[in-house]
Amino acid sequence: MSVNSPVRSMARSPFVLVVGVILTWFIAAFLVWPNVNILIATFFPDGSFSGRAAEKLFSSQRAMKALGNSFLLAVALSVTVNLVGVFIVLVTHYFRIRGSRILFLGYASTFIYGGIVLAAGYKFIYGDRGIVTSLLVRIFPGMDPGWFSGFLAVLAVMTFATTTNHMLFVANALKGIDYQTIEAARNLGASTWTILRRIVLPMLKPTLFAVTILSFLTGLGALSAPQVLGGREFQTITPMILTFTNSPTSRDLAALLAVILGLATMVMLAVMSRLEKGGTYFSVSKVSSELQKQDISHPVANVAVHAVAYLLFAVYTLPVVLIVLYSFADGAAIQTGQLSFSNLTLDNYVRVLTQQSGLRPFIVSVVYSALAAVIAVGGLLFVARLLQKYKNWLSSTFEYLLHIPWILPSALLALGLIVSYDHPNPLVGGAVLTGTTVILLIAFVTVKIPFTLRMLKASFAAVNSSLEEAAAIMGAKTLYVFRRILLPLVLPAAAAITALNFNSLLDDYDTAIFLAHPLVQPLGLVIKANTDGAEGTEGIANTFVYTVLLMVITGVTMYLVYGRSGRRKGRKRLPAAPAGQQASGAGLSGAQAPGEDDATRPAAAVR
């Protein structure tokens, strides 16, 4: 039970002490010191505070409008992503729908791609020369071919692009619901809809809150979807933040904007934590039974749900298909949207793969991302457990400090690391970190901390504490309990988080550009160069090739981590048993820092 436990009792466990010391050092060295450094440098350029940034920003109509748009998008996205996300989760995991495995694969396509290429994919379909648009124009000749633009277009694309978290965490939480409570409700006469509304969704609340925060963050940090589809009317703040970050004289503006978004995130987080407080979201049953799929008894509703499910399936999969197709076309065709099957060739692939440095960035990225993902999840497993277990002022302080990377854009985080560690610094044993391969790894780990922490904490929260007690009383040491009891229970969630972290780091640009070792450069730099269009028409084609290759890599990781654990579960089912929900994925969570590049990508993931 999670009664408040005094700081005193924490200090008694050597395990807590060791983790605490390491954590304190890490937070001080890599979260607080560099960021305080960079914030001081931007807000106190000559040692005294200047209110210039605020003054400039608040008198700029454009900034205010863009900021407003970002918030609008964040709020709207929080709603729409939940609607679509919950729907697809129910369709794939709760209701008995014909072909739900195929549907799952379709909806899961957001696991493996996102960002700019995704926006492009949608443009190929709904843009003014897109397939669907051409079709529609043929039917309704009066129609505006540029219909797919502005707020609604951005919202639509981002909604479909960011349901990844639902597919992972909400679905997981759903599986943890004690099926007998559903039986009980049915038995008490509740309809399918009532059961959903009154029993199932309330149990999913913490997870829904968590993914809502992620959606909110994604909306706030939206970059490429508004750029590509927003048109004149709907531009967001992130591009401005990026521009100002890159201009030393305007960096205070960037920092201020980032802090505004960061604070909004924190407020959202606090509100959600408050809302979620006091509820019980784990099964109180002695032994819970596994969820079984529900029939939709109403025939009309059944047909309607099937229809919507397959329509969404098309919406999800078409862009992927086109991206794969276009990756065989030449750059000009991609940009003008003209595709003819005759000019699909393997040229792009040959070019990318035979480039002198073709595969190396891939390998570098895979190694960095894998290391960072594993370190972040591995390290935070302990931290998350402790924070979930001990609730007092000290642990709350730690928890909030660990969210710092959400407040600042990753470019500023990177700059902070550079200014703090380009000279021997006692915090890291007098070493100089710039120019080493380690510093990028540190940054990668750092930016993934908030998301990882939230998701892990949530999955630990779903573990019944008497399991731990039972093991402890049999003499198992903290670490052993952790390894043998807790880990198996949170492993599916931890694996999913690792995979998401891995996928989202593969193409990182903002941190890498500042911190990458000159001889060990990751893929993001290559992709960025290509999408900037300065590299001629080949560049954009290269990006498609990279995207498809990344899809393959991330697809394989997701399969290895998630698909396989799913199968194993099928064979020897892990009872949610006394643990209640296995990994509700509850808690609050988050994607990238506001302002991170390519914010269309789901928190979760990928490109």
Binding site: T181, L188, G189, I199, P202, M203, T280, Y281, V284
Partner: protein
């Protein structure tokens, strides 16, 4: 009212219920009694519509409901694991069914408080989260949640097993009251023979997914049809062939010495029974005595048989372990079963007539 016909239930390779026929009369309090793991819960869940039998038919009021979902069967159920809704307060849990039925909030509240009082849940507890309740309190919430709807058929899966004796007796009584008041047909699952005998109109004794005997409590107790039932219901001592032979010798009865023979604890005594016309006394030694408040439980040994019996605690002095004594037995009370099939042997009319 309820008929299970030729039901088979399997979990993958495992056959939990190989073959089951049951018939529950309207308004009856029917109990499924059997040891842990024998398939009681499985049978109940099949009846409720949560498990689809691999074979067979479930009928309610003559209608085949085998493929009907559980909410269409008009049955209320109390789950063995409670299945409380963790996201709701105690009040909301109990009121759930009422809200689904769109009762007026004021009515709901009255009904909820009413039933809560009857299962001993305080107003303070109604406001709590279900996770904050003790095990027994949770179980009471589950019972209240089913009772508040006053269903036509009520299925109860060990609803009283976590309650203390007092409360258990009290709730037993309330369940019985409600049941007879509303004529709710009730199917009750328990492993507690005492509960089964005390509450039921009829009892089905389960063993490994198979019904060994169906009958009224007295029927089952007095005429256990199989060795398993005899052993499971009530408390019996196994008799040795030697012992049986001695009884035959002393009484002239013709009990079989090949059969498996048992004697109910209450049929043996250390005093000659007042009405025990045919009772015979066999020399015995006291093996042990345990105190049980109401009575002491003795084990005495005679002719190789360890015979358990009860002696009322009425303040009189009792023989301690090792003391020689006499155990009195009536041949007509000896229960005999076929050593192969376990079926009851017809009692010799000569001895059966006391």
């Amino acid at each position: 009212m309820i008929r299970l016909e030729d039901i088979e239930v399997t979990f993958g390779d495992f056959t939990a219920i190989p073959h089951l026929d049951l018939h529950v009369q309207p308004g009856e309090f029917f109990t499924l009694l059997g040891p842990s793991g024998c398939g009681k819960t499985t049978a109940l869940r099949t009846l409720a519509g949560f498990i689809q039998p691999a074979r067979g038919t479930v009928r309610v009021d003559g209608k085949d409901v085998t493929r009907l979902p559980s909410d269409k069967r008009q049955v209320g159920m109390v789950f063995q694991n409670y299945a409380l809704f963790p996201s709701m307060s105690v009040w909301e849990n109990i009121a759930f069914g009422l809200r689904v039925r769109k009762e007026k909030p004021a009515d709901s509240d009255r009904l909820v408080r009413d039933i809560a009082r009857r299962v001993d849940l305080s107003d303070e507890q109604l406001a709590k989260n279900v996770a904050e309740l003790s095990g027994g309190q949770q179980q009471r919430v589950a019972v209240a949640r089913a009772l508040v709807l006053r269903p036509k058929i009520l299925l109860l899966d060990e609803p009283l097993s976590n309650l203390d004796a007092k409360l258990r007796h009290q709730l037993r009584q309330q369940l019985k009251d409600l049941q007879s008041e509303f004529g709710i047909t009730t199917v009750y699952v328990t492993h507690d023979q005492d509960e089964a005998l005390a509450m039921s109109d009829r009892v089905a004794v389960f063993n490994k997914g198979v019904v060994e005997q169906v009958g009224t409590p007295q029927d089952i107790y007095d005429h256990a049809a199989t060795e398993f039932v005899c052993n499971f219901i009530g408390d019996s001592s196994a008799l040795t062939p030697d012992f049986v032979a001695e009884v035959n010798r002393l009484s002239g009865a013709g009990l079989s010495t090949d059969a498996r023979s048992y004697l109910r604890v209450e049929k043996a005594s250390l005093d000659r029974p007042s009405d025990g016309g045919t009772a015979v006394g066999l020399p015995a030694t006291v093996v042990s005595r345990t105190y049980h408040g109401l009575h002491s439980r003795y084990v005495v040994r005679s002719h190789g048989a360890d015979i358990r019996l009860l002696v009322r605690e009425d303040g009189a002095a009792h023989p301690g372990a090792g003391t020689a004594t006499t155990v009195y037995v009536q041949p007509g009370h000896v229960l005999q079963y076929h050593p192969g099939t376990g079926a009851a042997l017809a009692q010799d009319p000569a001895v059966a007539l006391k």
